[in-house]
């Protein structure tokens, strides 16, 4: 659905000679020339030279660290970008214009990596078949930032061809019990760099990003009851949002205001409520006696999808953000939950029971069509990447324990992202960066 659009955008961008300005230390504005209208761009990316381009290496650089920390993530990002294909270069052969022609590379990404003191410096130069420079950037950071450098460069390559960033710097929040208790963790989009964010020492679950990717809201049982908390992405600034209600689950930030939608309960009647992120202005949106759960905002903040048992089984509904104009959108199966809007607002992915197992279903809100896109085991809690190209979800296909997986929105390129302990409830950062 999205893929053809993306490719036509690529072709269009290149054909119309876009100007891209980038924000980094060394920043050379480049111009893409017309005539390279191939749908997939073939890119030659040899392993970096471990020295500055025009000088000998000031210090010995560890090849293994550069390969694992930088080159591996970079080439994987490029391979998964959807707009690049990596030209197959023979190893240890100098890259010449003839070689680039032979492997049909349209562009050549020349990389140099060296160290200056404690810092790694990465210089990337992109040139076309004529040798004309298309992009030149230099990145600088500690060893621990090598992967981030790779993702920044991959994003800059995407911007150069696509006029918008890739997904490579996005983060996935999730819950993990690897430390004994369920706590909130974060990882890079490729599953690397997994780190613990909350330290309640108590059941802490259901993380959800703020629209600026700076904070998360989640539920913790640290006080013996379930409460809503906000924490920043580095693990600081934790605060409890006191709604005065029970449950306080499935909390999610509005994309356009400081409202949080969540499930609150009074005397065993779970409903959808709104509250400001400072704990003020509690409002009730649903008023049935049945169970309402799992609110999720549309990207423009005007609608909220949620789950309700009002028809006898859990089904997906959409209402306006004021609680009005409720309509049911799922009719397939007898248990549907976890609805999430795609970033363009046209689709909703949700968990849907099919033949006794949960699967990820994607429904098109415009055409009303839906399709199942997961496979083995039980598959729940989908979340869209900020560019709408990917869906992360939890699956128990690897032996009855939850792990987080990632796949394209059409179900291809499945990749397991977590392995340590049990891991679930992925929530992909919202803002492209």
């Amino acid at each position: 659905m999205k893929k053809p659009n993306l490719q036509s955008v690529v072709a269009l961008s290149i054909a119309t000679a876009i100007t891209v300005s980038v924000h980094a230390q060394t920043d050379i504005t480049t111009t893409m020339t017309a005539g390279q209208a191939a749908q997939i761009v073939r890119l030659a990316v040899p392993f970096p030279e471990l020295k500055p381009p025009t000088a000998p290496a000031p210090a010995l650089v560890d090849t293994g660290k550069v390969r694992a920390g930088f080159f591996g993530p970079l080439t994987r990002d490029i391979a998964y970008s959807g707009i690049f294909a990596l030209a197959a270069l023979p190893p240890s052969v100098p890259v010449t214009p003839e070689l680039l022609k032979r492997v049909e590379a349209q562009f050549y990404l020349q990389l140099n990596v060296w160290t200056e003191g404690e810092e790694y410096v990465v210089e990337a130069r992109l040139s076309d078949q004529s040798g004309a420079s298309q992009l030149k950037k230099r990145y600088r950071g500690p060893e621990a930032a090598l992967a981030r450098t790779a993702h920044m460069l991959a994003n800059d390559l995407m911007r150069t061809f696509n006029n918008r960033p890739g997904v490579f710097l996005s983060q996935i929040a999730f819950a993990s019990n690897r430390g004994g208790n369920w706590e909130i963790w974060l990882m890079d989009w490729d599953g690397a760099n997994q780190r613990q964010i909350t330290r309640h020492g108590a059941l802490s679950i259901l993380p959800s990003w703020s629209p600026d990717n700076e904070r998360m809201v989640y539920t913790s049982f640290a006080r013996g009851t379930s409460d809503m908390y906000i924490i920043n992405r580095r693990g600081g600034g934790r605060m409890r949002i006191n709604s005065g209600l029970a449950l306080n689950t499935s909390a999610t930030f509005s994309p356009v205001s400081n409202d949080i939608a969540f499930v609150g309960s009074v005397r065993g009647n779970p409903d959808i409520y709104l509250i400001k992120d400072d704990g003020s202005n509690l409002r009730r949106l649903t008023t049935t006696t049945s169970i309402e759960s799992t609110p999720e905002w549309s990207p423009n903040g005007r609608q909220i999808a949620f789950t309700s048992g009002r028809a006898g089984t859990p089904q997906i509904y959409v209402m306006d953000a004021e609680g009005t104009n409720v309509r049911r959108i799922s009719y397939d199966g007898n248990w549907n939950d976890d609805a999430v809007f795609s970033p363009d607002g046209e689709k909703v992915a949700y968990t849907s029971r099919v033949n006794g197992r949960f699967q990820i279903r994607v429904a098109n809100l415009i055409t009303g069509e839906s399709s199942i896109i997961a496979g083995e085991g039980s598959n729940e809690q989908p979340t869209w990447s900020p560019d709408g190209q990917w869906i992360a979800f939890q699956s128990d296909r690897k032996g009855r324990r939850w792990q987080v997986f990632r796949m394209r929105a059409d179900g291809n390129d499945l990749l397991q992202l977590t392995f340590d302990g049990e891991n679930k409830e992925p929530d992909w950062s919202k803002k492209p960066e």
Binding site: W182, L206, L247, T307, D337, F358, Q381, R400, E425
Partner: protein, 198 residues
Amino acid sequence: MKKISQITFTSLALVLLILSPACRTKKQKVEPVVTPTETMAAPDIPPPPMPADTSVPEPKDFVEPEVTAETFPSDMEELNRYVQGKGYVRDAFYNYDEATLDDAAQAALTASANWLKGKEGAGYSLLVEGHCDERGTEQYNLALGDKRANSAKDYLVTLGVDAGRIRTVSYGEERPFEEGHDDSSWGQNRRAHLVLVR
């Protein structure tokens, strides 16, 4: 003990004398044989009534004193295991995707309410945890667990337990009692779990 203290020393001595041959054949503690002294006016005491037949009934073990006051564990975790084990406090179990109480669940809660209103239970508050089996989705089940916990709480209140003593929490399917993936485990995991708290 009480009986023994009521027996006068002399009559005890006499009885022992008479019974001593029989006693020796038993594995009971052998009491030292006491010989009556001169100060004891043995002839004034009427002879102990002899059993009609000469066979002496075999002595029985001492009866252990009966415990009339029940000792409850002071550790709350142990206490909860104890009252659940004794059936004083009983969990309510639910049908799949249901939060209504069937007869068995009502009986369990009635027993629990009676104990909570009695003199042993009156000092405790109650936490009612709502739990679900793994077959639903996590977020909806958190809400379902809340409904279950509150259905149990409401019933306890109608049976006369003060609502102010009862707190509820839903764990959804986050804390199963049984880890299995079969009907029996699922049945165990759909419950309102009653926990005594101070």
